[in-house]
Subunit: 407 residues, 2 copies
């Protein structure tokens, strides 16, 4: 597998465009479209929130019915959640605008939204946006990057990546982009993520791979514990790499799986480190847990705790908070088995040893925690399972951003 410069437009046959449609804010791009020259097989995972956005219901229907997907239209102004029938109609009208502009069947057009909940979409602005983007669709790297910027809300950096791998003697490309920032606690999926590939693969196998990969990537990040109404991850495969279609879990499947996992982990970590108001990427690695599920639960509890996150912001090696979070996580363990370390580029420091707090070098602890990426490393000594979760620190800016987000 090789990492290349690029994003959603890197695989053969994929184009992108973006525009400032004035959905909610003026003066910044807030709509993006990703389009494939030929219809794609698709896979998707969606929020587990009971209150699902209209666009989530629209996209689920495409993925679950087994229909092809040829375009995705995204807006980053209004979430189109809690909007009833009118919200669902807005999805249909957006897809119909793509049909009019590009001639692709409306029922192969996915839509995705992020932004304020409980506000209706201005359908005429969306339709005008689609019309403006259609003639601008391009397969350049720049078009992909511009799309990855147009889907941002409070994100401070865009998130995109592309990799290549070999399958059946052909070079296959996989590209992706995502946005995160707030209301990030994905459960079955991430906020918004779009993956494109020119791979040819059996649709069921593709969905199986996607569902497996998110368990260790997007589902292992949290910014604030709030699982969004809009979480959507879509993977479109148009087959233009002309590899022999993958139909079983052979070496080609493994190469695809590895690439998919890499791309999803990359995007997930970028989302965690760019959480609303964040100054740091906060990682928790739990090793030697009883089961994989225990390792996941424990590591997610640590990066999800407000008190842990505030300690990370303050560069305070207040390790009791991390143990406390593990204790209420729901996983069962004996604190007398646990070792806990702080790790970063600046060094590794043990602070807790099987039930006993260690006296440690506070200066070194501070130095370790002042790095941009800080890891809490926990050895459970109860088995051989491991998992890693990613989050960010809790800062004044998180409060500032969210005390006045809607207006």
């Amino acid at each position: 597998m090789q990492i290349i410069e690029g994003g959603v437009t890197s695989p053969a046959g994929f184009k992108a465009a973006s525009t400032a449609a004035g959905i909610k804010y003026q003066g910044r791009t807030d709509m993006a479209m990703v389009y494939s020259e030929v219809p794609c097989d698709c896979a998707g995972t969606f929020t587990s929130n009971i209150v699902k956005a209209a666009c989530v219901m629209w996209d689920k229907e495409i993925v679950e019915s087994g229909r092809k997907m040829q375009a995705v239209v995204v807006n980053s102004g209004i979430a189109n959640a809690c909007t009833g029938q009118e919200g669902y109609d807005a999805c249909r009208k957006t897809a119909e605008a793509v049909n009019e502009a590009l001639g692709v069947s409306a029922d192969t057009v996915a839509v995705a939204s992020t932004g304020v909940i409980g506000m209706q979409l201005p359908v005429e602005k969306l339709a005008a946006g689609v019309k403006a983007m259609a003639p601008e669709l391009a397969d350049s790297k720049e078009a992909g990057t511009a799309a990855s910027k147009a889907i941002m809300t409070t994100d401070t950096i865009n998130k995109e990546i592309a990799v290549t791998f070999e399958a059946g003697g052909k070079t296959v490309t996989l590209g992706g982009m995502s946005k995160g920032s707030g209301m990030i606690h994905p459960n079955m999926c991430t906020m918004l993520g779009f993956l494109t590939t020119d791979l040819s693969i059996d649709k069921k196998l593709m969905q199986e791979a996607l569902s497996a990969v998110i368990t260790d990537t997007f589902n292992m990040i949290t910014v604030d514990g709030d699982t969004s109404t809009n979480d959507t991850l879509l993977l479109m495969a148009n087959g233009l790499a002309e590899n022999k279609t993958i139909t079983e879990k052979d070496a080609d499947y493994d190469a695809f799986y590895e690439a998919l996992n890499y791309v999803c982990e990359y995007l997930a970590k970028r989302m965690a480190g760019d959480g609303e108001g964040a100054t740091k990427l906060f990682e928790c690695k739990v090793v030697n847990a009883k089961t994989k599920e225990d390792a996941r639960i424990l590591s997610k509890a640590v990066v999800g705790s407000n008190l842990s996150k505030a300690a990370i912001f303050g560069c305070d090696a207040n390790f009791g908070r991390f143990l406390c979070a593990m204790g209420y996580s729901g996983s069962k363990f004996d604190q007398n088995d646990v070792e806990l370390f702080f790790v970063s580029k600046a060094g590794k420091l043990q602070v807790f040893d099987k039930g006993v707090p260690l006296s440690f070098d506070e200066d070194l602890a501070k130095k370790i925690m002042e790095e941009k990426e800080v890891t809490v490393y926990v050895d459970m000594h109860e088995g051989d399972a491991q998992a890693t979760a990613w989050g960010c620190d809790l800062t004044y800016d998180y409060v500032k951003i969210n005390a006045d987000y809607r207006s």
Copy 2:
């Protein structure tokens, strides 16, 4: 039932004292003792966190063994959690100091701690504190108030209350104090709460009443979703009111239950409204839910959401966040049944009506949300169960306090 001025020293036979023992901080009282002239039957509930503080294990043993309890010693500097055998020995030594100073059996002395996790207690300072407090024990209102202040950490107001009720022709008094502020998401109990009464009641009935009452009071509050390692609620009953011992669920039991519920709800709400950095009490009342459990889950999810809490801080009627939190709570419902209102002294305003967002008066919304106590009122239209949860807003000061708590 009648509310009277007072606290833990109000019931007959109870005394309190406090002192500045210099456990972790200098220049403020940080130890308290509550003492009964005669041994008490006791009930207790404790944290569900797997990582239990040494003092929780010590107190649980007293309550579960059915032994009498005659004194409680509290310190508010160091939590004595994650401290291994040395931490448990510190509990025993504290109890032994009470035995030396007052002659009460060490195995009837409860201990409770709050403060930094993962640091050993200075046992000699605790013993000196006990020795200093013993001769100062007094049954005055002032002594009870001073004790309620000595157990505070980042609390800004002390929490105490006393009520009287009639049982078997006698006037019985029930007093209580508690501390909260941070790491508040009680599960089976609250941070630290101490209740005293001169009632005579069967021990099992008393425990049953306490366990039932906390479900709708202390377990319905959250400050930050972090369930502490130290949550402890103790109820001591010395029988000095000389009522005929309550042995069944008769009218006397009901009077006691009502008083207990009132006292616990009062202390719980005071803790929620005085959460770390809080400027407001944030209440969520869910009515007409399918089951009581659904109502509890939904209301707790709303007051527990960081995004909801930030919106409350910003006086922003961003109701989508409240619906989003209900959606990921784990309770199943149909958003097309839901009505949502904002309520405070300044008025009542509906913002969401069965799947449809309403356009509403933003000025009135702001006015309602600027009050010190704000309620999100949710009508599920799916049954007849209801529950209320209490929390607080998420503020800059919460981050400030917790980014630099340990040092």
